[in-house]
Symmetry: D2
Subunit: 275 residues, 4 copies
Amino acid sequence: MRLRVGCEFGFESDVPVPMLMLVGVRRDGDYRTVSESTRLDPELPLREYVDGFGNRCWRFTAPVGLLTTRYDAVVAIQGQADAVAPEARLAPAQDLPDESLVFTLPSRQVESDLLMSDAWALFGGTPPTWARVQAVCDWVHGNVRYDAEVSGPATLGSAVGVYQRRSGVCRDFALLAVGFCRALNIPARYTFGYLPDVGVPPPETPMDFHAWFEAFVGGRWYAFDARHNTPRIGRVPIGRGRDAIDAALTTAYGPARLIRMSVWADEVADDHPAR
Amino acid sequence: MRLRVGCEFGFESDVPVPMLMLVGVRRDGDYRTVSESTRLDPELPLREYVDGFGNRCWRFTAPVGLLTTRYDAVVAIQGQADAVAPEARLAPAQDLPDESLVFTLPSRQVESDLLMSDAWALFGGTPPTWARVQAVCDWVHGNVRYDAEVSGPATLGSAVGVYQRRSGVCRDFALLAVGFCRALNIPARYTFGYLPDVGVPPPETPMDFHAWFEAFVGGRWYAFDARHNTPRIGRVPIGRGRDAIDAALTTAYGPARLIRMSVWADEVADDHPAR
Amino acid sequence: MRLRVGCEFGFESDVPVPMLMLVGVRRDGDYRTVSESTRLDPELPLREYVDGFGNRCWRFTAPVGLLTTRYDAVVAIQGQADAVAPEARLAPAQDLPDESLVFTLPSRQVESDLLMSDAWALFGGTPPTWARVQAVCDWVHGNVRYDAEVSGPATLGSAVGVYQRRSGVCRDFALLAVGFCRALNIPARYTFGYLPDVGVPPPETPMDFHAWFEAFVGGRWYAFDARHNTPRIGRVPIGRGRDAIDAALTTAYGPARLIRMSVWADEVADDHPAR
Amino acid sequence: MRLRVGCEFGFESDVPVPMLMLVGVRRDGDYRTVSESTRLDPELPLREYVDGFGNRCWRFTAPVGLLTTRYDAVVAIQGQADAVAPEARLAPAQDLPDESLVFTLPSRQVESDLLMSDAWALFGGTPPTWARVQAVCDWVHGNVRYDAEVSGPATLGSAVGVYQRRSGVCRDFALLAVGFCRALNIPARYTFGYLPDVGVPPPETPMDFHAWFEAFVGGRWYAFDARHNTPRIGRVPIGRGRDAIDAALTTAYGPARLIRMSVWADEVADDHPAR
């Protein structure tokens, strides 16, 4: 199956603003990037580097006035729904791989240290398997209300904030679930990317990026999605990290205003050319 | 000049507790490790790995009962006081090296996003040079009171917490100074390690680890110390990271009690053998 | 300036043959990749990884029968000729960066250990600056005859072989120059990629990949080209390594026949879309 | 079991000579480094870095006159003989991990490309398992005569050279076996380090470093030793690489003479202190 994914942003700024942006699909995914193109208007020097989490970061300086950035890619995926492994066991802490340990620690938006007692009270009775992570997803899915109003780009959410407020957007569902997992010594990382509506009704709101998380179960990372809480087809990760600050769509070192954004993630024919 | 540095910890635990510990001197320092020895009593499997920040992490599982861990090293240093470069300029964000950018972002204990207005109000008028970081150190040094009582291993400090409380230990001085720097777009990283009393009166309290920070000024990292606020001789870093969670002395995945700790960092003769 | 670069290969095989291929432009270049597309016919699983030299390696298994692989990209470059720094000094060995040292050692196709006396006899009298590397290029350019017949994909060239034979293709010019540099303790790495005919007459033979080398002079890597021996515009590196084995266009783990190859590297208009 | 390992070298030089030296035990071994000390006489700046193969490289400049370097360590090992896994299967090339592929390529001292027909003629009939690597070891062990005279530090051996000469030291046994393995598409890496005489008669010649190799079989690296061709206890690797140039005991950028060398690798009591 082929997906066409991408996005276009419009920024406005009164001064030059150095920026970081994550929109390119990760290079280590389970898919093949068939074609890819980027465009900035006006033309600007753009540099890409790969950060410590493997994310492709664009660096550029938004000029005074308007800036449009556009990314467009076609990826070939296998087209299967998220893997499910109910029998997979959680590793005891001493058996976790070294590189997973950073994802057991609290971070700016995931105060897992403060969720410890509640997490063990809520989920300590579940078997130390996939079922424990699923119980976290079920709880978050059942107890947090989706509300696009309470959380926007300008709001710095956090796991504890969502836990208290009980509402938020997909990012907030992910942050709270990650917080519970880490409190339970389960490595969990925040992930965001493109997710098409393959096999599900299209959303009523405009297409947007989607945030989910990955937990380390049975010796590997699996995708979990506390917002949808059902296996989906076609996740194409852009950013991974401890939270939505490590893996931020945009990081601006100054006052740049986002004035326009569109995102696409659609199934296309196998011979679809890039735009 | 040669320093003998090291530490001995006693832990007590009722169940086996997987642990991480940072006590070995970093391998990338400006010194030569002449000798080094480690001891665990009882003998346990101990594995060392290097984390994403270049810290040497020990992994072991504390057994039921008592555990003593001991680290002892002799390092040869150049014996000069911390470098000072008043003319060094801060790089604008677009010129920072890629790998320094992670140290401009908020983290669990450094909520620089919440300190932004206060940081610019307090320090925005200083020249964009070394002087700005020095102004941060001066302010923290002058406005935070040293108080060993308010902060112990069990307390999770944070930059905002210290800013409000205005008291703390060396870690807290460092976290607040790091927070101000990041709010000002200056890459800053928390650092802890051994610091001998070369040329200064010995402290009245028992020798302990010391925490300071490093800021990226004039194209390189310099050590700053908001607690002492005066150049010192003989810093030997153990851990660096975004904050004291990335670079934690110990991280326990279970209830292990620290019952005893001693730390040493002394000048020794050039032919001093390891203990 | 924008360049369109790419290539198409045809392979034929009687058995499935696992292969590595380097055709994608490096990600760390001094240019921006505007668009990029890849195609395999028949459709095959293709995975890309980045090797220890920073090269983008494709892995796939050529099927029984015919296989076409195609890569096409548009890159935006600054359009300046190769930098020349006649005053730049060679670093003494003790001041070379750690990561450059591997490029001072002999390798399969660069037996610099065997070239040591000749290299010092030929070039030891030149000043320890850029001039020494230039003298190597001049010598190789003047003493090796271009001859496309003596060296094909199936021939394993080597610096000593070229030194004895005094003829070869661009790869051979590069290997011998690299060998002399290493014999003189100058870090040198083999490089190949796309090179358009900007400002020079088109070659009489069909467009092909081009091989050159990079030497570490005055604290950074510079491109040198013993084949053309004149600054050129628009080098777009694909592979770097110790020699043409580290950075091989194709590495086949079995008998796959190359039956067809075309390469392009052309200046295009700034609004040129990808094919 | 505890081993005390180390070495002392004497160098003499008429000019300052920048050098690299590998003597410290690798940090990623299956053992714990209990203590470690280094000494240079006269005292010199010594810097350690980790190269691309994970080897700990010392960099220093040997002064005019005499230089003594000494390394001494105590390591705790499990004390089991080399693992043997006769059922383990060789992976087909397409299933090899990316990072193992560099060890399938020819290198300066391992011209596996020239051994291809002979390797397949000799070993192509063996099952594609551990047995194939064992057959290589048996052949090399049975057909190469140990002869300390033909190969010294000053001689650049190579797999093809050993194959023709049929004699050499442990390094040469390893290089030829590695060459056959790579010709058979089996990732193989040259390894050298300390090897005590646990359970075997002490050698008649003075203790020296020992060279062996590692092959990738059944999804992991195993130690093989074509010289001894029998499982041994207590291998402590210092260097790994494509061959004895990547993992050279010493690399001198100038004329430094080795005038004296002693090596030790002995079982010691569990409470043995470092010298």
